[in-house]
Symmetry: C2
Subunit: 404 residues, 2 copies
């Protein structure tokens, strides 16, 4: 048998974690708080159908939709990014600073391709999004965790680790973080941008949940505080439009975008045209604001059901984060509960049948931390189903504690 | 400024060649025989609109189209690959042997990610498809050219170079090759599969033009002769359905596909769902055979216009390949004509305004070979425009020869 590349060995562990992440989504019997999929009620099916019906004609955008297109993405979708998604958040940029990619994760992949050599150190939050770590492993980077508290990444420790490890890059999900639901505070955002400039490291700001805030005051992206071009943004249309379309964008210095365009060309030529056109038209026709309100109302209600249900049904000593947006909360159970074992029990027990993601896989330290933690996604179930799932899961946890 | 990864230096040359390849497509004044885009008349716009209109509903495939999907692609499109595209060509395979990717080039990228370490030798045809070489350069492989004649890759030289360079992989476009239009003969196909087994190297069979044959007898893919799992196929829906949709497929051993699925997950999660559904329905509804006939009739007529026009208008001593399918012919001008200079003259001269791709960029040897050659694409212009372009270009070439 032909030998695989060395990088395949390096990514084995995280590839398995990622597979398990999505595995539990397939059994319809299970109430799943795993995965990170948006609600099916949040998908703008009818609007997309109408746009497709108008765009897919020889005298409208039919040829454009089916023919080869520009590597960096179509012009009107890049305009949406600049005018609708960045400018109101305090990030000013031009066409040459933006490229369209096939989802936020592809943005991360391309940035690694352009910047990461094997052995480079990438600082990540502890816990961090394991799917991104799978990418970092594939590029044979060394990930080093930086602690978080309720205010996000601890910037004092960040500076120490920059000094100690001389990293190439910091990877952060600053808003409603995956998996923790935590948000990096305003002063820390300034501090991260400042440290990136001072130590000349790249900050990869992955911010897909930012646009679904349904409580609290908005915060500017780290990119807003970047004066030296050290911050590069990878963002996604998955949570505000459609994940199945695989659309995202990268924002950075013109030279960085030019290099990323070469890398994109050598990855898959360009992003699929029809999804780009549908998404651009969706925004350009002014359909986003009402859709956005609907999303926020939907997820706020589900978050409330999730946090209330955890408080009601989980054992005393349970802690959880208090997200003002996004799709996740992070739960820390009393010590001694192993959530990987709990997951096995809760998915196989016919009276429970509840899935979530066990915490340990989100830590790059791989020293057992996170073993009593779990990521709970509240995006894809209605409130009553969330309540039912939490009641069953809470009973199981309490019975296991009683048995100890 | 943050340093780019080492691989970026390695891919600089080919990235520029690829950019020039597509650059001349943007000026509408120019008659372009550059690029490799299918005819706009070959895009099934109306069929796609009708399918989208039916599929994008809450009670049909609307949720599936906009929600996250399977990493390896949707089941019905993989069935199309197995039953419609592979079986009739003499390649038997199962679901676990097929994955859907975002275009044929992405298939090549993922295969490199899974198999190629820096410094690995990849044998390529001489000339070869420069966009693939851009990918090989990004993965820091060393490309070594193997000569072609009118029957494709010369297998005696292939074996010598396998022995001499101990390559990891052979990259070949066996049918209506890009850029040469040449096709690997039957006995050589068997020989390539046999050499791959004997020396245990991977053969990457990139075969996007195979399905637009409009003359001569069909030939089985190299994969048909593979008894040891050494051949992996990367193919594309770009030429038979739509390039803008970015859809392709990879066919290989189950273990290879499992590894490629991990790599796909760490590249962009999965291929855009709506294009997959549209393409699967297009085939499942039986729309392909009539569309296929239309494509073949269209391209046959354009090929005849191209080959006849070259014979009529180009100077004595000009040679060209005689493709029975695909979109390209390869032209060798009399020695002394530098096609890179000719291209500059022909695109800037307001009385000519004709583009093509200069030959030198298709050779990995970079020793000047191909300097008097050019790739001529006949896919995207109707016969009368081909005739006009060739007349103008022929006059320019003849005047330059006269001036020497």
């Amino acid at each position: 048998m032909i030998a695989y590349a060395k990088r395949m060995k390096k990514m084995e562990y995280t590839a398995n974690v990622v597979k398990n992440l999505f595995g539990s989504m397939t059994d319809p019997q299970i109430i799943s708080f795993g995965g990170g999929a948006p609600a099916k009620e949040a998908l703008p099916i009818e609007a997309v159908r109408q746009i497709a019906d108008e765009a897919l004609r020889a005298d409208t955008r039919g040829v454009e939709a089916l023919q080869y297109g520009p590597i960096a993405g179509i012009r009107d979708l890049r305009e949406v990014v600049i005018d609708v998604l960045l400018k109101p958040k305090g990030v000013e940029c031009r066409m040459e600073n933006v490229m369209i990619v096939a989802g936020g994760l592809e943005g991360i992949n391309l940035i690694c391709q352009a910047y990461i050599d094997p052995g480079d150190v990438i600082l990540v939050e502890s816990p961090t999004f394991v799917h991104s770590v799978e990418i970092f492993d594939m590029f044979e980077a060394t990930c080093v965790g930086v602690s978080m508290d309720e205010g996000g990444l601890v910037t004092e420790e960040l500076e120490e680790k920059i000094q100690k490890f001389r990293p190439k890059m910091l990877y952060t999900v600053p808003t409603f973080q995956n998996p923790s639901g935590r948000t990096l505070g305003l002063e820390r955002r300034k501090k991260v941008a400042e440290l990136a400039s001072r130590y000349d490291i790249l900050v990869l700001e992955d911010d897909p949940y930012r646009d679904i805030r349904y409580g609290g005051a908005d915060l500017p992206p780290i990119k807003h505080f970047d004066r030296t071009g050290n911050v590069i943004v990878a963002n996604s249309f998955s949570k505000i439009f459609s994940p199945g379309c695989r659309l995202g964008y990268v924002v950075g210095e013109a030279d960085a975008i030019a290099h990323l365009t070469d890398v994109k060309s050598a990855t898959n030529s360009h992003t699929s045209m029809l999804p780009q056109i549908l998404c651009a038209e969706f925004f350009k026709r002014g359909l986003f604001p009402a859709h956005h309100k609907k999303l926020c109302d939907l997820y706020r209600e589900r978050r409330d059901a999730m946090l209330g249900g955890i408080d009601r049904h989980f054992p005393p000593g349970t802690k959880h984060s208090d997200p003002e947006g996004g799709l996740f909360t992070w739960v820390e159970l009393p010590k001694g509960i192993d959530t990987a074992e709990l997951l096995k029990a809760s998915t196989s027990n016919p009276e429970v049948k509840v899935a979530f993601v066990a915490g340990e896989g989100f830590f790059t330290e791989r020293d057992g931390r996170g073993r009593n933690c779990m990521r709970m996604s509240f995006g894809s179930n209605p409130p009553e189903r969330i309540e039912t799932g939490l009641q069953r899961l809470g009973d199981l946890i309490c019975s296991r504690i009683a048995a100890v």
